[in-house]
Symmetry: C2
Subunit: 166 residues, 2 copies
């Protein structure tokens, strides 16, 4: 009757987080693909669209996503080839380059976003009572602040994103 070491309840708790993440990620990826986007491409588009003038330096973009700077170079390569983004030289620092969203990129995001939000509503927000949802978000915030992956973006910090003037 010795309790199996590998059935520890704490592990199943994390497994739960992983399952939820994997499930949501899979649903999202499928919906992105309907619009010809990968998950990272959507993420890049979102980050840029939320930034002033729809542009960001390559380094900053890397810092705000899950990618390395090389990874950003390659994603921007693809998206530039597809006409979603374009590079722009930084006038004040010739080392830097901006990635800026094109009209086509904004249009693509605009047609992808409503379905995405609907998915969130269907599979996440809509599944819970308002009180339970609020409680869930509070708890997640606590864990997020503790685990601190690098403080990617404030919870609702507004526009004080410390983007270098350049």
């Amino acid at each position: 009757m010795t309790k199996n070491l590998y059935d520890d309840a704490r592990i199943t708790a994390v497994g739960l987080v992983m399952e939820v993440y994997a499930g949501l990620a899979a649903r999202f990826a499928a919906q992105f693909e309907e619009h010809g986007l990968s998950t990272v491409e959507f993420e890049v588009l979102m980050r840029l669209a939320r930034s002033p003038e729809h542009q960001l330096r390559m380094t900053d973009l890397a810092a705000q996503t899950s990618l390395s700077t090389s990874g950003v170079t390659r994603v921007v390569d693809r998206m530039e080839r597809d006409g979603l983004l374009c590079r722009r030289a930084c006038p004040s620092d010739r080392r830097s380059a901006y990635a800026v969203v094109t009209e086509s990129g904004m249009a693509r995001l605009g047609e992808t976003l409503p379905g995405h939000i609907q998915l969130i509503q269907d599979w996440f927000i809509g599944q819970l009572e308002p009180a339970a949802l609020e409680s869930l978000l509070d708890s997640l915030r606590v864990v997020r602040d503790a685990v601190h992956p690098g403080a990617t973006a404030g919870s609702r910090g507004g526009s004080a994103e410390a983007t270098t003037p350049c």
Copy 2:
């Protein structure tokens, strides 16, 4: 004063889940690496260790992890090369092959697991009041059951894992 479309609160809620996942995953990966394991290798080791006789058919292993069957073939290749696993022919079905954990593999898992559980305690379980934790897990279960990535493993279904007799 038009509310920016891209600041929708529902999106930030999902962003929270993603951040928590990414943070935990990064912490875990770093700790696994201390013991010479990748995240998927740890996952494989766990799944096998929890299975009867510490073995599973390649297909079943793929179904229980986030990998395709090709992926399992390659991971098992690496782990077999490292002495953590070995393949065993299935006596009743010559198409199938078992992946079974070696003594060395169990030892590796045994030395990795305590630190892993400690990490979970430090950054996840220990961050929350017992009531908040219970509430969080309940909510996550609701979402998990809704999003259903394929019902990888019952929440605490016990041993009725429907492993084919073979």
